[in-house]
């Protein structure tokens, strides 16, 4: 865990009338940042969803975004791999850099960006094809891969998503025949297969039973050594269990961002404390 800057340590204790404070409280300087969001504002048809957001996502760590429903977590996640591009009602200001490179720069190919920044959605969305083809989908888009190599990668990805054992005998079966929990792991495997550098997970366990949720959480922890993870969740325990850093968003703004342990045990703002202790919807 990174050292806390001394200047920030002198801040007041939680609940001690800091709730009026405006600007975000950012409680750490990440060692190596993978994604840099700077001054990001985003609006759907004039209705702002993100307001002047600045935060850094550290490399090879799990960063959790928490906040009440509608605060803009999914919007932020979708902005990170430019999924808003096709929606002409969306207007955006500000910059996002991936490993120092502005992702909105004209020379950045959006398909390449999305391969590097993979995304897993709230509800599993397997494609209407076989399990194998689902995982191979992104590989086929890139093309020029031998059959054998593709088989290897598919197996590796399913293995990495802790699904291989359950599906290795039915790779040709329709992906829609899997249980919801398996589908969600399949979707993760599909995303892993294209070897992303960043994995964005939007409430990946919200549709799952406790066992499947545990599997996903284990998976997230095990992936940390290879890539940067961003996790959106409504489950405080989950954020506390798997993430290294937690950002609390509210109404499109960053409220507080700190190492998970300190955010949960020692929030700086009353707003944050109210939310994580369940006093605010």
């Amino acid at each position: 865990m990174p050292e806390l800057p001394p200047s920030l340590l002198s801040l007041d204790r939680p609940g001690s009338a800091l709730s009026n404070s405006t600007g975000p409280i950012i409680d750490f300087a990440p060692d190596a940042s993978c994604l840099d969001v700077e001054g990001l504002s985003l609006a759907y048809g004039g209705k702002p969803a993100l307001r002047d957001l600045t935060l850094r996502v550290p490399r090879q760590r799990v960063t959790a975004f928490i906040g009440p429903s509608g605060c803009g977590k999914s919007t932020l996640l979708r902005a990170l791999n430019r999924l808003h591009d096709l929606d002409e009602t969306v207007s955006r200001q500000g910059s996002i850099r991936l490993e120092g490179q502005e992702i909105h720069a004209p020379e950045v190919a959006v398909d390449e960006l999305r391969r590097r920044v993979g995304m897993v959605f709230q509800a599993p969305n397997p494609f209407p094809m076989s399990i194998y083809e689902n995982v191979a989908f992104g590989l086929r888009l890139q093309g020029g891969m031998s059959r054998r190599r593709m088989n290897d990668i598919v197996e590796w990805a399913l293995e990495a998503a802790a699904l291989w054992g359950e599906v290795k005998d039915r790779l040709r079966a329709s992906a829609w025949s899997l249980s919801i929990g398996q589908q969600q792991r399949l979707v993760i495997a599909r995303t892993l297969a294209v070897r992303p550098e960043v994995l964005l997970l939007d409430e990946p366990a919200s549709a799952l039973d406790p066992i499947s949720t545990l599997k996903i959480e284990e998976l997230i922890r095990s992936l940390k050594s290879q890539l940067t993870l961003v996790l959106v969740t409504h489950n405080m325990q989950q954020a506390a269990r798997v993430s290294d850093y937690t950002a609390f968003l509210h109404d499109g703004e960053l409220v507080e961002y700190a190492p998970t342990a300190s955010l949960f045990t020692n929030p700086r703002l009353a707003r944050t404390e109210n939310y994580i202790t369940g006093r605010m919807a």
Binding site: R114, G118, F121, N125, F127, P128, R190
Partner: protein, 456 residues
Amino acid sequence: MNNLALIATVLIVMALAYQLGLTRSKAVAGSGERLHSRPGYYGVLVALWCGLPALLLFILWSVFEPGIIDLLVFQQLPPEVAAFSEREQQLVMRRIAALAAGQNVADPQDFERLAASQQARLEMLGHLSMLATMSIVAVVGLVVARRHVTPRLRARNHVEKAITALLATCSGVAILTTVGIILSMIGEAMNFFRFVSPVEFFFGTTWNPRFSSSGAGGQGEYGLLPLLWGTLMVSIIALLVAIPLGLMTAIYMAEYAPAWLRSVAKPVIEVLAGIPTIVYGFFALIVIGPFLSGFGELVGLNIRTTSALTAGLVMGIMIIPFVSSLSDDIITQVPKALRDGALGLGATKSETIRQVVLPAALPGIVGAFLLAASRAIGETMIVVLAAGNNPVLHANPFEAVSTITVTIVNQLTGDMDFASPQSLVAFALGLTLFVITLGLNVIALVVVRRYRQQYE
């Protein structure tokens, strides 16, 4: 009193009965016991008891009275009329009816005048007794129902039952009509198969139903295959036009078109389905046919003005909206999550559509195709005008063909004699057509329904 006034009267009486039921229920409620239902339900119940039996009586009376009066009048006619042919007898009865209604008839005979006055008298009598019976039934119903209004009467449940019965009757009418049509088709088709064996009909390759009026003896040949083949040829050409055009339209509308264009273009395309088919027919005959044939000359092909191609082409244009509109709805229904998933893996928009959206929508789209196909197979006016009516088995789309629908039209226009195979064959053809389109529709519905369930 004419029927309209009568029904209006019944309705007014029912309104009064409603009031009576209402006041009655309030009166019994006044005695302290709590009413089972709100007073309005008692009113409705009393009104129903008062009006429904009377209306039922009215319907039965209207159905059976004319027959009975006809029978009575006919029995009074002089004996020589009984010797007339059936047609002449019908004519006489019509003249009598006209006389009885006070209309002018060319030189009426004495016995006709007599019968007419008798018929008028009977009708008057019938009408009066109907009114009397209806009044009695209504009053009895009213009195009985009103007496039954007690706080414990479950008026609400009874009314509920009456409503259920009404709804069931309505759907029953629709279903019975369908069943009736099918049964009568089957019956008449059986009559036809008494003349021509089913094997000859379903597997015969020659269609030549010599009309009895044309003098030639024998009953002709009734091979279905040339017609079936003609139908298929035209429909396939139509689908070859409609499926690519319709599907691409749908993809553009669902995925690419800006909202304003979509809101304008969709209704415009759907207008295509609303154009009367006869208009398409003469459009084919007058514009497309000559154009195709001229074009054929240009490239050295012998294309007839009226041909399978002409009819198929125009029919294809007609069914574009069936394909495009349904496919559009189905493509739009594919969850956004699937698109996001593909885009998120770096797929372009067209890759996403081709590899994810269309496969996901495929069952539904196939359903749309099948519905369009059944529409094409049953289409009549366009082929009557533009296909050329040439019931010969051949594989040249530039030649004239005939279809099942066209042949039905041919067999049933002009002099008809429903004892001859020439007319009866229409029922066998109709039944064949019905089975084909029904089959396609059922498959299409099953496919579409299965598709819908995938996302539930």
